[in-house]
Symmetry: C2
Subunit: 198 residues, 2 copies
């Protein structure tokens, strides 16, 4: 028997999800068709909504439906400090610590030359412009303590230094090789307090 | 910061996929938005296509885009033998063994009273009608060797017996508790050969 083309296409399309191989894509497709057609419909429209409505904040580059996200537009935040993180998930982790009241810049990645991710892909120009807005007094580099995250922090620190802008690095309270997403709030808060100048 | 509503909706919608919890749904959403918007678009349209085009074969109940699937419509198959499997994935596994040339009936599940899955949900009436078409000489029960799969096989065997229809069970060549999907073709082929009358 030939699997129907539409079903094959769905199984193939599900493989765009990270961590989903051929077997689990097949299981997902069958599950949706057999048990959760309503869920499949919601997922399809949620994807379309996300693709049409979600954009990057003009200031911090995180995902938002606005030109400038609520956090960047909030006058109660400390507009003198800019915390640089790799992903929106890291931004949310940082917010959960309640240890930081400043602004953010989200790289949407980390330097990874082998994957073709260079300064342009992490929006370095926008970050440097952002850091030169006349308000920012300190840039805190909160990329992961992985090899790539460290390299990214040092590259950004050098770029900022050449513009005469101070930067600091959150403390290595995180385990070496650790990622912000998988760390408890307390450790991350401590790492924030113990940040050191670069 | 509030996560944008559209993003929250996408993360929530991704959780309809089996095995996807809050953390991996978030990772999937970020991945699609950051790295694979084309993939997200394909997935959305593949879901819509699947929901609109895929239906159940009138004869074997598997997924198809036709009224009667290609396998059921194939005159070269042995139309005297009906193999009952739980899912379309099991049907494909069976086809891969090349050990079987007859027809199928796909239950789209197994009896599971605690989950509210009874004879109606596994389409027992349609199976019994199908088995009484005048052509079928043997029904082979190839449900899984799990507790529920065994109970399903015995329930179907009893129902068929009361209509005077013979059934057989594939051999327990599969490990106890084993599922067809996770077994190699050789073991499954052997189990098919050694099927016993019920
Ligand atoms: Zn922003
Ligand atoms: Zn069919």
């Amino acid at each position: 028997m030939k699997t129907p083309t539409t079903l094959e296409a769905l199984i193939q399309a599900l493989r765009c999800l990270p961590g989903v191989g051929p077997k689990s894509a097949q299981r997902m497709a069958y599950h949706l068709l057999q048990r959760d057609q309503a869920g499949a419909g919601h997922l399809a429209s949620a994807l379309v909504d996300a693709l049409t409505r979600i954009r990057h904040c003009n200031r911090c580059n995180t995902f938002t439906e606005l030109e400038v996200c609520e956090l960047c537009a909030n006058p109660a935040r400390d507009h003198r400090t800019l915390c640089v993180v790799e992903t929106p998930a890291d931004l949310l982790m940082m917010e959960q610590t309640l240890a930081y009241g400043g602004l953010y810049f989200v790289l949407m990645g980390r330097l990874s030359p082998l994957d073709g991710i260079g300064p342009r892909e992490i929006h370095l120009d926008r970050l440097l412009n952002r850091a030169q807005d006349g308000m920012i007094e300190e840039v805190i580099l909160a990329t992961n303590f992985t090899v790539e995250g460290e390299a990214t922090a040092h590259y950004i620190a050098e770029s900022l230094r050449s513009l005469g802008i101070r930067s600091s690095r959150i403390a290595r309270g995180l385990p070496v090789g650790g990622e912000l997403e998988n760390v408890d709030s307390g450790t991350l808060a401590q790492a924030m307090v113990e940040r050191r100048a670069l």
